[in-house]
């Protein structure tokens, strides 16, 4: 069985935008936050499918900013339990509803369960609970919106922080220039569970929403990694968030693809870049506008920049080699 991405046209987006927001205005995310755009796109794609939907949210920016009691930005069933256990919480809710449906205590129907977690809640503290829930096969789409650090608690380094990035726990010192390690290969780790795995960017809404729908239509767990720009933590002006997100894709730092078992497929811009390698932008184009990488442009860290470019190239080539293009 393979994954079929639905075609999402601009006209579809126009129609769906009339359905009414699920993630509504009034939330307290920062101006320029990519997570808000991501949440609107994911929720609307779910709503457009027609089946009922529910959300479980790990502790993080999206959670704290959207549900400051007694208010909520969610026009949907929404549940937050704690930081590291969103997938486990969803598995309990899913199995409870199945059990009560079996016993005639709840109406029988398909429910689309979406779980949101940030990079801290997914790459790091929530990985065990996610892996366990996926191994057990509960039917949900887990969306990790990675902004590349613990932004909610004040920009601390996570397993999803890019190499070289300055955070408050990987500061650009005189000896160590920001984070030492490359990010954990989260999409590959999740794909190794033999589940549909997608990457997406809020800068490319049609691609993202098509993948949300494909993930929800799949019977069983699916995973999506979203690159979520964060002007506060990545340090750039709030009006260029989507530009930053596009540069992550155009430099092949964050390729758009999906994979299921043996099949790897590049989508959107990434697919075009694979066919036209000369249009791939240098990594400096992505790093330079962001304050978190500013120190790397000092002469003493020139080697570091070259290393990062080499790693991006090597990972991209490896992906292109095994992927087909759409």
């Amino acid at each position: 069985m393979s994954i079929v991405l639905p075609k999402v046209s601009v006209k579809d987006l126009q129609e769906w935008s009339k359905l009414g927001e699920v993630f509504t205005s009034g939330h307290r995310l920062c101006a320029g936050c990519g997570a808000g755009a991501m949440a609107r796109q994911v929720t609307l794609a779910a709503k457009a499918l027609g089946d009922p939907y529910m959300f479980v949210n790990a502790t993080g920016c999206l959670e704290v900013a959207s549900t400051v009691y007694p208010y909520t930005a969610w026009d949907a069933p929404w549940l937050h339990n704690a930081f590291e256990n969103a997938a486990a919480t969803a598995s309990g809710a899913i199995e409870a509803m199945k059990s009560m449906q079996r016993k005639g205590l709840m109406k029988e129907r398909n429910v689309n369960m979406i779980v949101f977690g940030g990079d801290g809640g997914t790459y790091d503290i929530g990985l065990q609970s996610l892996s366990g829930a996926v191994e057990r096969g509960h039917d949900f789409l887990y969306v990790c919106y990675s902004n590349g650090a613990y932004m909610n608690t004040g920009i601390q380094r996570s397993g999803g922080t890019p190499q070289g990035a300055a955070t408050t726990t990987s500061p650009p010192g005189t000896v160590i220039p920001g984070k030492i390690e490359w990010q954990k290969p989260l999409a590959e780790i999740m794909a190794a569970h033999d589940i549909p795995t997608f990457t997406a960017s809020p800068a490319y809404p049609r691609d993202l929403m098509a993948k949300v729908q494909a993930g929800l239509k799949h019977d069983g767990p699916a995973f999506m990694l979203v690159d979520s720009p964060c002007n506060l933590g990545q340090r750039y002006a709030p009006d260029i968030s989507m530009e930053i997100a596009k540069l992550a894709v155009k430099t092949c730092f964050f390729p758009l693809f999906y994979t299921y078992k043996e099949e790897w497929t590049l989508t959107g811009i990434s697919s075009r870049l694979a066919k036209n390698p000369d249009r791939k932008l240098p990594i400096e184009d992505y790093l330079k506008p962001q304050g978190r990488f500013r120190h790397l442009f000092k002469p003493e860290w020139k080697k570091k920049l070259i290393d990062i470019q080499d790693t991006v190239d090597e990972k991209w080539e490896r992906l292109v080699k095994k992927a087909t293009c759409v």
Binding site: N81, A88, S91, L105, Q128
Partner: protein, 395 residues
């Protein structure tokens, strides 16, 4: 079947599993840990043989077990789990979420010592240190009490005046693995005792666009916590009524505290769990020697039955508190400090002598308990109103 008493030989763990089977909860999410394992093993048999229609979620940790229980409970489902020691400690964060979100989850604890050093045997510290987590907390002395408290806990937790989770403990191996005589109930009796309908509450379900688990700051947090305290206070009366109803249904007397030969006693043992059996045996031995001594067993630990304990100990000269739990640098044993608070400032109350004993499954023999009793009398004779000792270890 109703009214016919069936007697079966079961271990404490098996008794719990069989009682849960009669309740047939919608979800059991659990992770194996000695000495709780028989509970989840038997229950897995029931699930895989189609004897219950529970969704059994065999999670990858106790943290996920309690997390899944919270997710399940908020959909309105009836939920059970079981753990011990390190597993309960790993759940600790989510214990507070479960009570804070008013999830009437039932948790069986096979009381076991904490690491380090690692040890798998009976000790009640694991459950006692959860005293402030806003969970109703009960202890059982025997496989029979394990069986009964399993069913009772659902009744208390799901009561609309309570809506808090409930845990009950039986000591590892001493009760969990000991084969005992258990009088069982019929399916009909349990169905009559526990309502067939599920709890009425705001539910995390497709038909209700509701937000659960909001961020609540200085402006509302304390009101929500205060509601938990009121629910906990309500749990006392609810437990009393539920025990009364259970006693009538089962023909077995069940009380918040159990009094043994206390009426004319000058001295008393206070204990909980399996130790209470030994205390009663020692009372018999001492009575035979002419000592006026009785025993008090605490079954309900939270909410703490302060008034019952005051009344039961009123007129007693000295109380010997046998506490199978460890605490360090504390003014007394865990249960002793609670009793001291309950009695403080009241007239005609005993001196309190707490004994930390039985850690990591160490046995405090009946002769040793008699020695401890003599120690308490001696302390009392020289006017010491409060003492705490460790007993039953190599000095």
């Amino acid at each position: 079947m109703s009214g016919v008493r069936q007697v079966v030989g079961m271990t404490g763990d098996e008794a719990v599993a069989h009682a849960v089977k009669l309740v047939n909860p919608d979800v059991v999410a659990a992770y194996p840990i000695t000495p709780q394992t028989i509970i989840v093993e038997r229950y897995s048999d029931f699930v895989n043989n189609g004897e219950v229609d529970t969704s059994f979620i065999s999670v990858e940790s106790e943290h996920s077990a309690m997390s899944a229980c919270v997710g399940a409970s908020l959909t309105g489902a009836r939920v059970f789990t079981a753990t011990a020691s390190a597993g309960l400690a790993l759940m600790y964060e989510i214990l507070y979420v479960a009570s804070g979100m008013r999830c009437p989850i039932v948790l069986a604890v096979a009381n076991r010592a904490f690491s380090a050093p690692i040890n798998i045997h009976g000790e009640c510290t694991d459950q006692l240190v959860c005293r402030d987590a806003s969970w109703v907390s009960l202890f059982g002395e025997s496989a029979q009490e394990a069986y009964d408290e399993t069913i009772l806990s659902f009744k208390i937790a799901e009561h609309p005046d309570v809506m808090l989770p409930a845990m009950f403990g039986i000591e590892g191996f001493i009760v969990t693995h000991a084969l005992e005589r258990v009088e069982t109930l019929s399916k009909q009796q349990v169905e009559d005792f526990i309502p067939a309908s599920r709890i009425v509450r705001d539910r995390f379900c497709p038909d209700e666009n509701k937000t659960f688990g909001s961020l609540v700051l200085q402006d509302y947090y304390m009101e929500i916590k205060r509601q938990q305290e009121e629910a906990m206070q309500n749990a006392y009366k609810v437990t009393e009524d539920a025990m009364q109803e259970f006693s009538e249904m089962s023909g077995r007397k069940m009380e918040i505290i159990e009094k043994y030969q206390l009426e004319d006693a000058d001295y008393a043992f206070v204990s909980y769990g399996a130790t209470a059996g030994n205390a009663k045996a020692v009372v018999d031995r001492l009575r035979a020697k002419g000592e006026k001594v009785g025993a008090l067993k605490i079954r309900l630990f939270r909410p703490f039955p302060s008034m019952d304990i005051f009344q039961a100990l009123s007129g007693i000269k000295a109380a010997t508190i046998l506490d199978r739990s460890a605490t360090f640098g504390s003014p007394g044993t865990i249960v002793q400090t609670d009793i001291a608070s309950a009695l403080y400032g009241k007239e005609n109350v005993p001196s309190l002598h707490g004994y930390i004993n039985g850690l990591g499954g160490r046995v405090l023999t009946l002769p040793e308990i008699e020695e401890v009793y003599e120690m308490s009398k001696e302390y009392n004779n020289i006017g010491m109103t409060s003492t705490t000792d460790w007993v039953g270890y190599r000095k």
